[in-house]
Structures are given as structure tokens and as C-alpha cells.
Amino acid sequence: MRVSSRQRQFDALVRAHNGDLYRYAYWLCGDPALAQDLTQEAFLRAWRSLDALRETDAAKAWLITILRREHARLYERKSFDTTDISELDLDDRDSLSPEQLGEDSIVRAAMLQLEPKYREPLLLQVLGGFSCEEIARELDLGAAAVMTQLFRARQKLKAMLSGDRSEARA
């Protein structure tokens, strides 16, 4: 069977970016199964409008934009029975696996506690590798506002982590 160049392009896109997109989706919704669905839906939508992608360098930003819209759409359509991340208790370690009891799991729990307006620019910067200007364009904000949110996001994370560590030491 002959594979079209469009299909080959899509294959390459999925293989190159499925990891980044899944992680971004996971940190948006905090649910692994929902993150998989979101990633899949975003890629299917990308397939339908693949002709709109002109530059390879823009692929990741393009996919993340699609994913963010898909995430917003999902929450417009229905509410999900997912964990309310504000209710996650950093000290409630009984439900965590031994592997998760390390440093990473503490940072992850803190990250899920971060308000979306701080979490999203931080994800775009740390996972997506975008600059403040690129994040500002993606979130439709001013560059100065994005810089402030990023600064505060880190401050809040550090505050949560230092509090947790001091409690852990006590």
C-alpha cells in the first residue's frame, strides 16, 4: 500500500512530539487517562488541518496551541470526575508509591497545587522551551505579565517545597 506524503508527515509529527504533548496535557489536567485522550484528540485535529502547518520549526507550538484549545473545549463540553488538584495534600503520602516518595513526587504534587495561571506559563517555558515572548503570544498576554507570572510561579513553588521539606524534617 502506498503511503501518502501527508501521512508520512503526520507519522513524523506524532513520533517527534507525542511525548511533549502528553506531558503538557498531563500537567494541564492532572489525569493520565484524560491526558492520553487529549493528546490523541489534539493529534487527530492536527491531522485534519495538517495543511495549515507550513514550517517544521513551528510544529511544537502549533500542536500545543491545538492541545490547549482541545483542553478548553473538553471542559466546555462536560465536567470530568477528576481529582481536584487544590485538594491534593502534600503530606498525604500513604496513597503514593515508594517511587513517588522521592523529590520528584514532592515537586509534582506542588506543581499540581499551583494555580493554572501560574502553572501554564511555567509548563510552556520548562516543557515547551518557549521564550517569554512566545509564551505571551500563545497565552495572548503581554510579555511583562508573563514574566511576572513566571517569577511568581517559581516563588510559590519554592515556598511550597521549603514548607514541605521543613515539615518532613520536623
Binding site: 498531563y26 493529534f43 515537586v107
Partner: protein
């Protein structure tokens, strides 16, 4: 640049340090230490955010996409098939309508045929008898008596499903169209449709049909054609 500004910029994007920031850091022990801590935090943050991607995620996405695509192609093919079926149906219905017209009663078919050959009514010059005889010969119709005079048009025409010799005889009150339909025997009758009148008469194993707006010459022409086709010049029994 002062320490406050340096740390504000570093806190918003620790991995992008401008030349001005680097210059400040190199001359400030406190900010240099802060920079090292910030990079350590970034490393821990990046590692923590780097959650494991489910095995086979890319393959599952591609499977869903290719399956949906094949389904969509199948739908497109099915739509084309339905279009083809619809086209055949339209053709069949169209043909049926045409067939229905073909099987309309003979008088209506004869009148309709005049509309198909309007040029037949334009000429008034009589054709040579030989030419008219040839048309009858083409239809396998023997002529017993002499042809009437003044036939201005003669063609072997199909009328619906029937073969005919289509002729026109100009008269002072208007042309009379004469059809002879060999092998088609019908009952004698007079019909009218709009301004047109039709007389159908069984004659010599066929039917003679006269079509005109004015019927006053029908009797004479019927008698005249009977002479030609049957060899006797009277009007058949039961004439109207």
C-alpha cells in the same frame, strides 16, 4: 543592573541570561550563588515535570488516525456508490417517462410528431411521384393504385414505436399531414386535441392517419388513399 533586577529577570527565565545579567553575576557573589541555586531548582523542576509517557502512545494515535481515515475513505466510496445508484435511477425514471410518451395514444403521438418535423409544413411544391413511391417501398408497402397528386413532403418516420410514411398534402385551408403506418391495425376513429384533428382509418393491413386543423378534406383524402392502397376509392363501412 542591580541585584533586585537581576533576580527578578532570573526568576522569570533562568535559562536565558542576557550579557548584562552575566556581567552583573560575575561581579556579585550573592547573585552568583543565587544563579547556581536557580539552575539547580530548574533541573529538579524539569526532571519532575518529565513524567513517563505511556508505552505505545504514538502507535495508538496513529492506529486511531489511520482507522478513522480508512473509514472516512470508505464513507466517501459509499457516497460515490450512492451517487452512481442515484444517477442510474434518474436515468431509469427519465427513460420511463420517455417510454410512457412512446406509448401514448396514437393520435397524441401523431400530433406530437408534427412538432418534431416543422419543416415538413413549409414546402408546397409537389414531390415527384417516384420519390413518394420510394418511401412506401422502403416500408415494404405495395401501392395498388396511383398516388394522390400534390404530396409536398414524404419521409419514412418512426412515430413512437411504429414505422410510418410521413407525408404532407397542401390544401387551400391548410396542410393535411398524412401518416401511413404499415402493420399497425387500429379501429377507425376521429380525435381532437387543441386545434388539431386526427382521423385514423384501418387500411390495407395498416392504418392511414390524417392530421390537420381543418377536417373538410378528410373524407376525400381517405377515399383517395384507399384507392392508392387498396385499389378502391370508397370510404370504409362505418365511416363517421
Amino acid at each position: 543592573m542591580n541585584c533586585l533586577e537581576y533576580r527578578r529577570l532570573l526568576g522569570s527565565d533562568p535559562r536565558r541570561e542576557s550579557a548584562e545579567m552575566q556581567a552583573h553575576r560575575r561581579g556579585c557573589n550573592g547573585c552568583s550563588s543565587h544563579h547556581a541555586q536557580a539552575l539547580g531548582f530548574e533541573l529538579a523542576l524539569k526532571r519532575a515535570l518529565n513524567v513517563a509517557v505511556p508505552d505505545g502512545l504514538a502507535e495508538r494515535i496513529l492506529l486511531v488516525q489511520t482507522t478513522a481515515e480508512r473509514g472516512s475513505n470508505g464513507r466517501r466510496r459509499r457516497q460515490l456508490r450512492w451517487l452512481a445508484v442515484a444517477a442510474v435511477l434518474v436515468a431509469v425514471v427519465g427513460l420511463s417517462v420517455f417510454q410512457l410518451r412512446v406509448f401514448e395514444p396514437l393520435p397524441q403521438q401523431l400530433i406530437a410528431h408534427l412538432g418534431h418535423e416543422p419543416e415538413s409544413l413549409l414546402t408546397h411544391t409537389a414531390l415527384p411521384a417516384q420519390e413518394v413511391e420510394q418511401r412506401f417501398a422502403q416500408r415494404g408497402v405495395p401501392l395498388i393504385g396511383p398516388l394522390p397528386e400534390g404530396i409536398s413532403y414524404a419521409q419514412p418516420c418512426p412515430v413512437g414505436m411504429l414505422a410510418s410514411v410521413h407525408m404532407v398534402m397542401p390544401e387551400p385551408e391548410g396542410p393535411v399531414t398524412v401518416f401511413y403506418l404499415p402493420g399497425h391495425e387500429t379501429e377507425r376513429g376521429n380525435f381532437a386535441s387543441g386545434t388539431m384533428h386526427v382521423r385514423a382509418v384501418p387500411m390495407a393491413k395498416g392504418t392511414l392517419a390524417l392530421v390537420a386543423a381543418d377536417t373538410r378534406h378528410f373524407d376525400a383524402l381517405e377515399a383517395r388513399w384507399r384507392l392508392t392502397l387498396e385499389g378502391r376509392g370508397d370510404i370504409a363501412a362505418g365511416a363517421l
